[in-house]
Symmetry: C2
Subunit: 763 residues, 2 copies
């Protein structure tokens, strides 16, 4: 019987967050600090001919002006170590903090540190720049043309960011020819923005050769690594920390966030003062990583009995001006596209392609939502051609444990079948599917399925110390980005060690004194850090029990730690008493948890959506989403449900509303919360999270991850439901009213609506 596992433990950060006591980077005040502003390129692509900062530098209150001329000329990749973790990867090293070339609208030209934000802003206006505009590429397919201008011509002779990712299994060409039914299509995917509540910000203090940086990064050690690399500093002289809270992340804060950390570090070094930079919302939208947009070509073929036989895919992702996570996202897209269903013959090729728009990088799902939207479109199409129920077809073809597949890790557990069945059942599949009718408002249901991965190829380390009051301190380089997983880790610690949860203090989000960790991302934290904690807590318990046995003169086997006390011996001992006694007798109880090998496990998910399409206006209203997830054992079911619900909302936005629009000059049109249409509460339907528990033998207490999974198949399920409602399958998202109307009209469905008395403008 577990005391803290599968329990809805209250979040440990709840009180400080609801009372407003919680500190974020925006709140950081360092005595004597200056305020920074950044001059950004108005051009999508240009060379800076002349840069005159003399008037800005002369403005009273200005303490430093940073440009490409007085800051390090060292190329970096802004993801920290993360981009290097993909086996065999050669990550794009293509960024400077400031460069003489600007490669997208918003690219950094110069930055000023001054005694007030107003003075810094005024100084920015006084900087004189002469640009030589260059032709700009906006579309990845254009960037692949032979005569395309090279965006990083100084370091490479094509526009592909760090190569292509290829997957092969069986013989795709032969298999394709053997299929009885086939489907092929190109889907087009939008730029989605993380739009996290706290804009990018950072504070740096360079003093006595040591650099301290406060930042909302998801990977404090990764950010430390980039800074050490850029400034050629000993990494031990750099400290990166969260304050400790992070106002949302969703992938955009892996490593640098909008280069804020690098900019304030330059300015602090140049000025000798601490420096703070807070990006405006417009800057945040314009310069920090987005989800990769682009094109995915899919080919899926099956035998007459419905068995998938051949799968082909080409992905052309738009990575914008810099490569960041480019190759990884392309690889993840391919891996996720090819690991939900059994297909003997597979070919995938994908790449991230440079253009002159805002860079794309990590965003919750990391290529998987793009993959699943394409795959599930094809699965539904084949179901129609085969006349097999889409649910049946998915159940028939789903991957089983230890199936052969193209991935480097095995499928060690899956309850995808149960996810699909429960999602279908709870949306009312059998009653509602295929019953859209012919009125103005048409309803339909659809389903999408997918997988993800957690713990992928990343090490986890923690250190544990038993304190003299009997509490347990856990040190991890992980961050709390708003998910609540620190509470789940407390639960795992208390369960593993045998203490009360109130006795567990987890210290995170600080490179100082925490062992190396790649950070909070990739659905890894509960799984990977949880495993490291379990290991360390087991060792610590052993130390304590051996010592207590010696102290009490009994056998350690008889003893256990329960509720923070050692029980089973001639007397009960309190953990604090033991720790103090240990110190007096030259024993300190501490342990390290260090993952010995890279373990990757697979969460699974199926979403079913019900929608109502207004055929007159093109408005898609999502009525309900059932989100069934195989997360292994849910350590904290309420937090898992929260992750699922949050994911579904992003999935709904991806499917129906969210799209960063970039005009022909490369300018972002909708760079604010007013114009970028995030779903609000009013747009959020009933969401029914369903936890389908399995037991993952390699996870802590059977747990897998959930973080990214919540949005993976949502858009596919909604598009399928829209098809069920209207008969039209949309190959491009989001399903905005205009796009839906255009599609319905193209399919002559709007004509039908007109017949029934509605009026509609069609261009």
């Amino acid at each position: 019987m577990k005391r803290y596992i599968s329990k809805n433990q209250k979040r440990s950060d709840a009180l400080s967050k609801v009372t407003g006591e919680a500190t974020y980077t925006h709140d950081i005040v360092v005595p004597g600090m200056l305020f920074a502003k950044v001059l950004r390129s108005p051009h999508a692509h240009a060379r800076i001919r002349k840069l005159d900062v003399s008037k800005a530098a002369a403005l009273p209150g200005v303490k430093a002006v940073a440009t490409w001329e007085n800051t390090p000329r060292k190329l970096f990749n802004s993801t920290g170590m993360m981009a290097f973790l993909y086996p065999g990867a050669k990550p794009a090293m293509d960024e400077y903090i400031f460069d003489q070339m600007v490669r997208h609208v918003g690219d950094e030209v110069a930055a000023v540190a001054a005694t007030s934000e107003e003075i810094a802003a005024e100084a920015i206006r006084l900087i004189e720049v002469e640009y030589e505009p260059l032709p700009a590429l906006l579309d990845p397919l254009d960037a692949l043309e032979e005569d395309a201008i090279l965006i990083h011509g100084d370091i490479q002779d094509n526009n592909i960011a760090s190569g292509t990712h290829t997957i092969r299994q069986g013989d795709f060409e032969k298999g394709w020819a053997e299929c009885d039914v086939t489907y092929e299509a190109r889907v087009k995917l939008p730029i989605q923005k993380q739009a996290q509540l706290e804009t990018h910000a950072a504070v740096a203090e360079y003093r006595n050769g040591e650099l301290t940086v406060w930042s909302p990064t998801q990977s404090v050690h990764g950010t430390k690594y980039i800074l050490a690399h850029i400034f050629d500093m000993s990494a031990g002289n750099i400290r990166v920390m969260n304050p400790p809270y992070v106002g949302g992340a969703f992938g955009v804060r892996v490593g640098f966030g909008g280069k804020a950390e690098g900019i304030v570090s330059c300015l602090s070094m140049l000025s000798g003062y601490p420096v703070k930079l807070v990006l405006t919302r417009e800057e945040d939208f314009t310069v920090s990583d987005t989800r990769h947009s682009g094109y995915v070509d899919i080919k899926l073929g099956a035998k007459a009995d419905g068995r998938f036989h051949a799968f082909g895919m080409n992905a052309y992702l738009n990575t914008g001006a810099y490569g960041t996570h480019g190759i990884e996202v392309a690889a993840c897209l391919g891996n996720m596209a090819t690991s939900t269903y059994r297909v003997p013959n597979i070919f995938f090729e994908g790449a991230s392609i440079y253009t002159n728009i805002v860079p794309a990088g990590a965003f919750r799902g990391f290529g998987n939502p793009q993959a699943v939207f394409a795959v599930e479109t094809a699965v539904d199409a084949l179901a129609k051609k085969l006349d097999i129920d889409p649910v049946e077809l998915r159940l028939k073809n789903r991957i089983r444990v230890n199936d052969e597949w193209p991935l480097s890790y095995p499928c060690s557990s899956t309850a995808l079948d149960e996810c699909i069945k429960q999602a279908a059942a709870k949306i009312g599949w059998s009653e509602k599917r295929g019953r859209a009718g012919q009125g103005r408002f048409r309803r339909g249901v659809g389903l999408g399925a997918g997988t993800h991965f957690c713990g992928y190829d990343e090490l986890a380390h923690v250190s544990l110390e038993l304190e003299t009051d009997g509490s347990l301190s856990v040190f991890t380089g992980n961050s709390e980005i708003g998910t609540g997983h620190i509470t789940s880790l407390q639960q795992i610690t208390a369960e593993s060690f045998g203490c009360e949860i109130e006795q567990v203090n987890i210290k995170y989000g600080d490179t100082r004194g925490t062992p190396y960790d790649v950070g909070c991302h990739s659905t890894r934290s509960v799984f990977a850090i949880g495993n490291a904690i379990s290991m360390a807590a087991g060792e610590l318990k052993e130390q304590v029990l051996q010592y207590a046995a010696g102290a009490m003169g009994c056998s350690a086997e008889a003893l256990s730690i329960e509720s923070g006390r050692v029980r089973g011996g001639p007397e009960e001992m309190d953990l604090g008493q033991l720790a103090r006694d240990g110190h007096i007798h030259k024993t300190h109880f501490s342990a390290e948890g260090k993952s010995k090998e890279a373990v990757t496990v697979t969460p699974w998910e199926a979403h079913a959506a019900e929608v109502e399409v207004d055929t007159l206006t093109g408005m898609v209203k999502v009525l309900k989403v059932v989100a069934a997830h195989d997360v292994g054992v849910a350590i904290n079911p309420q937090l898992v449900e929260g992750q699922i619900e949050g994911g579904v909302v992003i999935g709904i936005g991806y499917a129906t509303r969210e799209e960063m629009s970039i005009n022909e000059k490369g300018e972002v049109y909708n760079s604010s919360y007013h114009t970028y249409m995030l779903p609000t509460f009013a747009d959020t339907p009933e969401i029914e999270p369903v936890i389908v528990e399995s037991y993952e033998p390699r996870g802590p207490y059977g747990a897998k991850g959930v973080g990214e999974c919540g949005l993976v198949p949502t858009a596919a399920a909604i598009a399928a439901a829209v098809e069920d409602a209207t008969g039209v399958r949309f190959l491009e998202i989001p399903l905005t009213p205009q796009r839906v109307l255009d599609g319905l009209q193209a399919a002559c469905v709007t004509c039908q609506a007109e017949k029934e008395g509605g009026t509609i403008d069609v261009e």
Copy 2:
């Protein structure tokens, strides 16, 4: 051939200290912080009948008033865990932050936090207190009288702080009777003050249930422990850190310093703001631990051939109002008194006794200077009686390796003979001894010898991380209190691991993320932390070489780390490259160094002094001190010499000038740098530090410690030199002009001076 051992490596903190960039607790500014002032008792002993803070609390700008009525009623010992480490010790738990009883002039009555220091000071004046004065005890012998008032009557029925320490070896009574010559005397020892440059100070911020304290403590983990105890908090929610520099410590900052940490923590909790307290110099003198004054009775007897045969000692230390380190200092006094010379029959009994004066606690030497002053007085007296040269008598009786002695650890190395010989030779013993002449100015030479201990019963832990740039981060809970030993530890790290010293970053003085350590005191840091580092660096090197061997396909035995590169294989590998490659291949290089057992080793020292006594004024001028020290191998000879020189200056002050004077009301008379006569540069003679290297097999690279040793025999040597000059042996220090004149007059030496034409007032 060692690259970094026995090398004068420049201090890593030198630049920041000479440029003024170095940050101390006095420099800490936390946004929004308040300023604290303390109301202190004007009475040596009183009960507070009434305490009215209403006017103070009503003063605009006042945010909190702390008294015994609104702060924790939990008794503590202000030394942290340290007082608990003495085996079998029951440390005095006798202090509250604020109490209804005040037990010495300066004892805390109340504290105010306000928006400025001026407002806080005004509020202090507005607090109304009605005291019931009680009889006060000032002398420890008075406090032992049967009818003495009890100073801690609520917790114990005598005035002895935490018991007496007894040492027995052989049969003292029998041995004493068997002696051919004997000497007995009572020596009287003064209150010496650490008088460190930075007065006690602390800043606390209590926020979201977490308490952060900046403090100049010598033991961050110890201070954390006391705070957790007092406030009944989970220790993991408390962070104590140095800023990181400490403006001198000398023992006074073990655990709390003048309760500043406790006071600001109370005020931050009460007010909700960060709070800073900086003690004035007068407060620092009046309320923080001093060196124990008191009386030591010694009996030393020898056989006719000069072999010591019986040793008896009773120590009556004045611990003032609180026990702090009382029993430990008494025990150390006894241990040190009985471990320099072979004596078959030993009896020692010592105790620290409560009085109503400023508390005594840890001060460099920790009972040893008191012990050695008494012992060496007796040795010189026996030499005279036996007509044996004092140098010869010491050489004859000195302890040898593995001699039986009353201590719990063995004498594992000693070069005391060489120390004595070199000190004597370099002061010109044979030419100068016994040649004082009869003029007004008389010169003499004297010698004192002693030992100390390092690593005593204390655990050391460090953790090491190889960073991705190839640098090595070392995390330790130790502090840098001005000694420079962090540089020595860098040397040990670089030597042990094989990297460049610039690649070593030692992070210290912060409980966050450092393994438990008892702190920087007890001459332990280079020895104990150095050993832990050697252990961890050896393990880390093994990890790196094994990995490199795998990567290069060669045998690990062939490889070594030199100058930060792995050499000996088919190719050279850079440590940064290896660390990054390791991360990609799921290996992180880190190691813990954890001392497995308590190891204590013995440094040794002999000081020889030459003095000139002005028999007209009584002024003792120290002309030269030769300080010969067996420190094992000196890791950084220049730093060792610095420690010795600093120690000698304190020893000179102890011998000739320094004495806190307390009047009959218990008030400290000389609580400022103007009135407390620290030796200045003008008072400092030529000091010749002599490093007598031995090799301590259990130390890092053969090293022992040196920190406290520099002052241990200085006062004894100076008193011996004064005797050589004047024929008068003074049993009380410091040898102020008045005391010397009185003594000379008593011995009729002044009469002689008068005969020769000088005039002198004698009362």
